[in-house]
């Protein structure tokens, strides 16, 4: 009985640890920062919290009508879009897609939001 | 309480069981394929558009959901109203209710424009919306009927069967009221905006559910090689006839009332006279095949299984026809924004909206039927749902011929 429990526990541990050694062959994403300067938050904070910052802001913008926040999605895209493709999507070398493809997290934003820059109608618009 | 305890047994997988399961499974796979096509390409590949926003999937899904609440009828009659002759059939009734609800709910959820957002649908509720209440009611239905089924099948919990049955009965009435109100609460469309739709759906649910239950019972009896006695059949066929008549009565009252309002003459003329497909489906599908024919078959003297089953199939066809007229017909008639004026626009104002269901959305709807069928077939094989014998002596020991 004890042997069975132990071997089952070891098997479970091996299975759970699979992501750790399975991902060793995949190259880390190439994060090219196109624009000089600083992001709205330090990289360690942004990396972990950008989804919460965006999620928090989107309700303020849409439901309360508060515009011009630093954490606006369009501001991120204008800054981070690849100079080559003009978009944050398109290949795994693009800013958003690179990391998201690596960690296999679906990007839902761009079902509706425009991933390409330079398509804003009015000059100096801050959505 | 009968002194003789009835033995329940799983059916054996003989004589076409696996063939039937494979056939239903194939339809299920086709439905799944249809869903993935719709989810990937968007609704552009379907026959639905901005004028007919709810199509074949909703017709089938709402039929299954309404039938699901009605399929519980046999169990409710046993537990709530104390008709002990139905007690041995109550577990099958409860399971069929859950299976039909699963099929209907699946089609409804999979047709959503953003079906990947089911967690949002389950966590963000606007309780003023009858749709939101329905999501809560439909999912709660599984829990309540599941508990009810468990109490029925677990001997130690048998004494709680009646309270569970009452709870399930009240829940299912609320659920069907909610489903009818989805249309009844819409003030915008002339074919809806009626308080009568909720009770109409309740009476129709009795008819559709009982019809599907009889069909399932006959199929189970054939698959399990357990011949069905006519004592229960006689009672159920009379009950079914009553429900069909009740439904027909409410439909007549609904249309008569609408005909009395001059402002509704347009939509009534459309449905009853010159609506093309809608009129055909109404008179031939809903009235002739769905109401008149079953009444004739069910009320003729004697208990003839093939007559009863034909009536049940006719009721199912009539039910789908009724949902088609309600859902598609209600959307086909244009909104009257400017009474007294004829309107024309690039957005199809003032025109009857045409609808041609595509293969992909019909397959999705049929997949719902397949889900229910597969669930029932597997349950019959692994659970002790049916009595070992379905003859008169077992089901109705006090039966006097």
């Amino acid at each position: 009985m004890r042997h069975r429990v132990l071997s089952l526990a070891l098997l479970a541990l091996a299975v759970l640890a699979m992501p750790a050694y399975a991902g060793q062959g995949v190259p880390k994403p190439l994060v090219t920062i196109e624009q000089p300067g600083e992001c709205v938050a330090p990289p360690e904070v942004i990396r972990r919290n950008h989804m919460d910052l965006l999620k928090h802001q989107r309700d303020k913008t849409l439901r309360d009508g508060q515009r011009g926040a630093k954490t606006s999605l369009n501001a991120c895209i204008e800054c981070h879009a690849s100079k080559k493709t003009g978009s944050v999507l398109g290949s795994n070398e693009n800013f958003c897609q690179g990391c998201h493809a690596y960690v296999a997290v679906t990007l839902d934003c761009f079902e509706c939001h425009q991933p390409k820059t330079g398509m804003v109608k009015a000059a100096g618009a801050k959505p | 309480m009968a002194n003789t305890t009835i033995t329940f047994r799983e059916i054996e997988g003989k004589g076409g069981f696996y063939l039937l399961l494979a056939a239903c499974g194939a339809v299920l796979l086709l439905g799944a394929y249809a869903y993935f096509q719709m989810e990937h390409h968007g609704h552009v590949i379907t026959g639905m558009d901005n004028q007919i926003v709810w199509g074949m999937p909703h017709v089938i899904a709402l039929f299954l959901i309404v039938a699901a609440s009605g399929a519980l009828n046999v169990a409710s009659t046993a537990s709530v109203f104390g008709k002990s002759i139905y007690k041995p059939l109550a577990p099958l009734s409860a399971l069929l209710a859950m299976a039909l609800m699963a099929g209907g709910l699946a089609v409804l959820m999979l047709d959503l424009g953003r079906s990947d957002r089911m967690i949002i649908a389950a966590t963000h509720f606007n309780f003023k919306s009858v749709f939101a209440l329905n999501v809560f009611l439909y999912t709660g239905f599984f829990t309540i009927v599941g508990v009810y089924l468990w109490f029925m099948m677990e001997r130690r919990m048998n004494r709680w069967t009646k309270p569970a049955g009452v709870a399930a009965f009240i829940w299912r009435l609320t659920l069907t009221t909610g489903t009818g109100s989805v249309f009844g609460f819409l003030v915008a469309r002339e074919a809806y905006q009626s308080a009568l739709l909720a009770p109409l759906f309740i009476v129709l649910s009795f008819a559709y559910g009982t019809a599907l239950f009889l069909l399932t019972l006959a199929a189970a009896s054939a698959l399990g090689r357990r011949p069905l006695g006519d004592a229960v059949l006689r009672r159920l066929k009379n009950l079914l006839a009553t429900f069909v008549a009740g439904g027909l009565y409410l439909v007549v009252v609904f249309h008569l009332t609408n005909l009395y309002f001059t402002r509704n003459h347009g939509v009534e003329q459309f449905i009853l006279l010159d609506g093309g497909i809608i009129t055909g489906v109404f008179w031939i599908g809903q009235i002739l095949i769905g109401s008149v024919l079953p009444l004739v078959l069910l009320l003729s003297p004697g208990v003839n299984l093939s007559r009863i089953l034909t009536a049940c199939v006719a009721i199912v066809i009539g039910g789908l026809a009724q949902m088609y007229v309600t859902i598609i017909g209600g959307q086909a008639w244009p909104l009257d924004l400017f009474p007294g004026y004829t309107a024309k626009s690039s957005f199809f104002d003032g025109e009857i909206h045409a609808y041609a269901p595509s293969l992909v959305e019909t397959l999705l709807g049929l997949g719902g039927f397949a889900i229910a069928a597969v669930m029932v077939i597997i349950a019959l094989k692994v659970l002790r749902l049916l009595p070992e014998k379905l003859d008169n002596h077992t089901l109705d020991p006090h039966h006097s011929k």
Partner: protein, 253 residues
């Protein structure tokens, strides 16, 4: 012997409380940079957001609306990057449309644009199961596409057939007007322009073309042009018997 549990319990409680406080403190510190930044951003931008003191509305003078003119429809399509569907014409989105009316008995003809009426009591908001269809404080009725599940119940409920459903993947959206497959949409009163102090695209186009049939403004501003016109000229709301109090009024019907 009976005394020993008490100090132990006290020590445990103290350690637990400290641990909890530390965790909360760390959590707050970790979140604080992001949270603080957002606060600064808002204070600097100075955008208050929508206020209920304002109620945006439109007045449409149908006597100035020309039969066959579709300037407002074209402007809306350009501004919001609305393209015809690759499927059937019935699957194309239309946020605004021109309706040509002819009185059945008298033959009198009217031409007018119809769009979301931005009701004060919107049925689309009532029926939305997730609350995605909502009314902003300043009266603009919008769809929150983050929460919309695409059930289309609001499309069934709208008495003006104002809503459209996006049937296919979109790629050329205006960054200021996010719209996508599977969500329902309707006229936003060009909320992205209104928030910048501009007029909706349709109103601007109608004025530019010289017809000047559409007037946009704050219905609550008694000194404003629209409120003054409504107070002095006969105007009506479409399907007024439904008592939804639309924010769009029509003159000449």
């Amino acid at each position: 012997m009976s005394e020993s549990p008490k100090p132990e319990a006290g020590r445990r409680a103290f350690l637990g409380a400290t641990a909890a406080a530390t965790a909360a403190g760390l959590g707050f510190v970790a979140l604080a940079p992001g949270v603080q930044l957002i606060r600064f951003a808002q204070a600097k931008a100075g955008m208050e957001g929508a206020s209920s003191k304002v109620r945006w509305g439109m007045l449409i003078d149908t006597t100035r609306c020309a039969t066959g003119c579709k300037e407002c429809v074209a402007a809306c399509a350009t501004e919001n990057a609305i393209e015809p569907s690759s499927g059937r014409p019935g699957q194309s989105s239309q946020w605004i449309r021109k309706i040509e009316l002819k009185a059945e008995k008298t033959g009198h003809e009217i031409s007018l644009p119809m769009m979301c009426q931005h009701c004060a009591e919107p049925p689309c908001v009532d029926v939305c199961p997730t609350g995605a269809s909502f009314k902003r404080a300043d009266g603009i009725v919008l769809v929150d596409r983050h929460t919309c599940i695409g059930c289309r119940y609001c499309m069934m409920a709208c008495p003006y057939k104002a809503r459209s459903f996006v049937h296919e993947t979109l790629t050329e959206q205006n960054p200021e007007v996010p719209r996508g497959k599977g969500c329902v949409e309707s006229c936003t009163l060009c909320v992205h322009r209104v928030d910048k102090g501009q007029q909706p695209a349709c109103v601007e186009a109608c004025n530019k073309s010289g017809h000047e049939a559409m007037l946009f403004g704050d219905l609550n501003d008694a000194a404003g042009a629209i409120a003054k016109r409504i107070a002095t000229t006969p105007t009506s709301q479409v399907r007024a018997d439904l008592r939804l109090d639309p924010g769009v009024r029509y003159q000449g019907i």
